[in-house]
Symmetry: C2
Subunit: 471 residues, 2 copies
């Protein structure tokens, strides 16, 4: 997950507050009653999917498949051999699973490598700091950059201290408010520091909990602003440097980063289908991204999302189901570099956007699901609530508002209904983009449940007689 904005609670409240009698204005009670009955008729199928995924012979399969991939390949950075290995393995996996129309769609993706990197505090005491350079950052000169630190807790404070910033390494010790709020420091920290003449920026990791854990992620340079090297440091070191500064200590840091940006390289979105029986050209798209950062195993972000998406198709196939519409699995490439694979997919396929009934993305964990986030017309939302009611056996029936997954936004903005998985995020940002994103944080039982949700939603929406209505 790159920039996912969590507007679940606020937008959901707004929806409730502004709640009106949705259907009376839009669809006749009679029509809606028919849709309700149609959806209710999927009760046995939903139960069969749940039984198979959660209690049956398919349980733990998505976890086991994911473990095998990430243990074998390791992390899967955009532009890396690991990512291309993973794509080739997934191509084989999807074919061996007997899915249809398995193919790779070429995408040009960024190629950045961190290389060796280190940060050493020299003054007031020698202390080796854990760092992770940020995606797209330039490196330092080979001898590194040695400079005094200027500590700030906000962009406002940086602007107030602008006269002191020239030639310094800006250290951001911003508090963790929430991911979408706080991630701005990781994304724009280097640019804002460069604007006031800094030579590098070190940013407190955007993390809800830390055991001296640096977290990487994407950052963006800006045309006309000098590019300076930028990395995340641990919460612990950021706080220590801030304490030192508050005591009047002069702080000197020696930063070395071999990071390099290479020309764009070839990669692929990985696609597989269960082709629709009646409207094969119409699509319900389920997705997660196969790339990750280059630390940990990318098991959580977004191995889990990719593998419950695959699992959804596997479960449908295991039960011998074939929906009227095509259920298409897409495993995006280079999401972490700004949704590159998804963007190119949209450019290629948007001409057929009227054939997409629903685009689904799982990219904020596959912990215990609470429901789905949904973007679409009020009519479609009411239908989705009925679909989610099929998941009563799992007690996961909520439909929140405000989906904004990096990889499905293009479709949502084009008017296609979008859904993303909502789950328990209480530990997500402890592991996100860190060495700790490994199979250890994954729970097979929770993945089973997430896959069941994913399979029921995708199958039922793909099999209903009508596509989801749009505005």
């Amino acid at each position: 997950m790159k920039f996912l904005i969590f507007t679940v609670v606020t937008v959901h409240l707004l929806t409730v507050v502004s709640g009106k009698a949705i259907f009376k204005d839009d669809i006749s009670q009679e029509t809606f009653q028919k849709i309700k009955e149609e959806i209710a008729s999927y009760g046995d199928i939903a139960k069969a999917i749940i039984d198979l995924a959660v209690y049956g012979k398919s349980q733990n399969r998505s976890y086991d498949r994911l473990g095998l991939l990430v243990d074998t390949v390791g992390p899967r950075l955009s532009g890396s051999k690991n990512l291309e290995n993973a794509i080739q393995i997934m191509y084989q996996n999807l074919q061996q699973n007997g899915l249809e129309n398995v193919h790779l769609e070429p995408v040009k993706i960024p190629h950045w490598e961190r290389g060796e990197e280190s940060a050493m505090m020299l003054v007031p005491r020698v202390h080796k700091m854990a760092i992770l350079g940020l995606g797209s950052s330039i490196g330092t000169p080979p001898e590194g950059i040695m400079a005094e630190a200027l500590v700030v807790t906000s962009f406002d404070e940086l602007r107030r201290k602008a006269p002191e910033a020239r030639g310094k390494i800006v250290v951001y010790n911003q508090p963790y408010i929430s991911y979408p709020v706080t991630v701005q420091y990781r994304v724009r920290g280097a640019v804002e520091a460069a604007k006031v003449g800094a030579v590098a920026s070190l940013i407190r990791s955007v993390a809800s909990f830390s055991i001296y854990s640096p977290h990487t992620g994407f950052q963006e340079y800006q045309d006309g602003v000098p590019k300076i090297p930028t990395a995340c440091i641990t919460v612990e070191d950021a706080e220590m440097i801030a304490r030192m500064a508050s005591r009047g200590n002069r702080i000197v840091i020696h930063l070395k980063m071999d990071a390099k940006n290479y020309p764009d390289t070839s990669s692929f979105n990985t696609v597989a289908e269960i082709t629709g029986s009646k409207y094969p050209e119409q699509v319900v798209l389920v997705s997660g991204h196969l790339d990750s950062w280059d630390v940990g195993q990318g098991a959580m972000d977004d191995g889990g999302g990719a593998f419950i998406s695959w699992e959804a198709l596997s479960l449908i196939k295991d039960l011998g189901l074939r929906p009227k519409r095509t259920v298409r699995l897409v495993l995006w490439t280079a999401e972490e570099q700004g949704g590159i694979g998804a963007s190119q997919y949209f450019q290629l396929h948007k001409v057929n956007s009227s054939n997409y009934s629903l685009v689904m993305e799982s990219d904020s964990g596959t912990f215990l699901p609470t429901g789905i986030q949904f973007s679409g017309s009020e009519k479609a939302r009411a239908i989705m609530k009925e679909v989610m009611s099929l998941l009563k056996p799992l007690n996961i029936t909520q439909v929140f508002s405000g989906t904004e997954g990096t990889d499905i936004n293009f479709w949502i903005q084009a008017g296609v209904p979008g859904a993303s998985l909502c789950d328990d995020l209480s530990t997500y940002f402890a592991f996100h983009h860190s060495h700790g994103d490994t199979m250890t944080v994954m729970d097979p039982k929770k993945m089973n449940i997430a896959a069941a949700v994913w399979a029921v939603v995708s199958y039922v929406v793909a099999d209903m007689e009508e596509m989801l209505p749009r505005t």
Copy 2:
């Protein structure tokens, strides 16, 4: 904290189950009533201590003092310059605080250095593993040790697989049950592996929660068993290696450790007092250890314990109190190497053990206290319950059984009543002996409360007319 055994709950239950009418047999109701009244008369003083520590001008002082020390000095490994710097700074601090009889008592302590260390998985894929060599471990030859891994989850499994172990690196993937149970793998892992012919051992870190965090700690060689290099790996890597092994993968690891054991070196226990007004030769001893491991800042283990112990004396002094007995602060050296400073202190002072009314140790965190653990006679326990009732304003009044702090066990075994601080340990073993043991995990408000408990208990027991009764 090295080997603290948590017997709080079980032993406490035993006490309750076997509970008899404690006092009727031992002290007359009349005598006990007088003691109750004497203790109750300290209500105003206890309230003054609490007010000063928690709400008054001394609040956050122990946190600020600790932050200054550990930010300035860094971690304080036995035998290191950092530890000796810290001791000299504390000597100055205690003098500047106006405490009495500030002095250093010489101790010979172990000197082990980890040096550079690395572990690289070569097969089935290249993967750099985070490790922390274990205290007292020998190093590898300069070229390292390259060997196949043998994964086990228990000593029993190691014995069953003994014929396969020769020449291998034993990887322990023992589950985390509890610290005292699971730490046996860290302490005895190398010896047990060496007994079956292994060339090195890598042990899953003893941790309740991990973000790819290796945890160090002490290990013990055994006479007659070959010494092999030993280090902890992360929970994540231990689990991954176990998954690989369960799939039949051959695993090859290249381990390099420059660890060296040097001759014992000079250090000190740091001592300061508030001398008793009536029985100056009689002592209530409050303590924590000043040494730490060589990672993180040793802020939690045991900076917090050392600094609330100092704070107890500072609070008593701030209020112009002088108890009848001496309150003595001792900051132990080389606790992590097996309670070395405390052991030598006991050897030197045990001749006067009849003058020690109570020995107190804080070495399992200074998070929100729940009460104290107490070891001593039933009479003394009943008195301690009355003392703890003075902490009702903080709602921290419990007296648990079964104190076993590394540094006060000698005294307890000699019949001296002992008390240690009990607090919320829910995150303790996420940070323990890791890079994450820093000021970030410390909470000034919780330290204030812990210091208030410590000051009330030490002052009241030192000021009561009688010493605590023994068996």
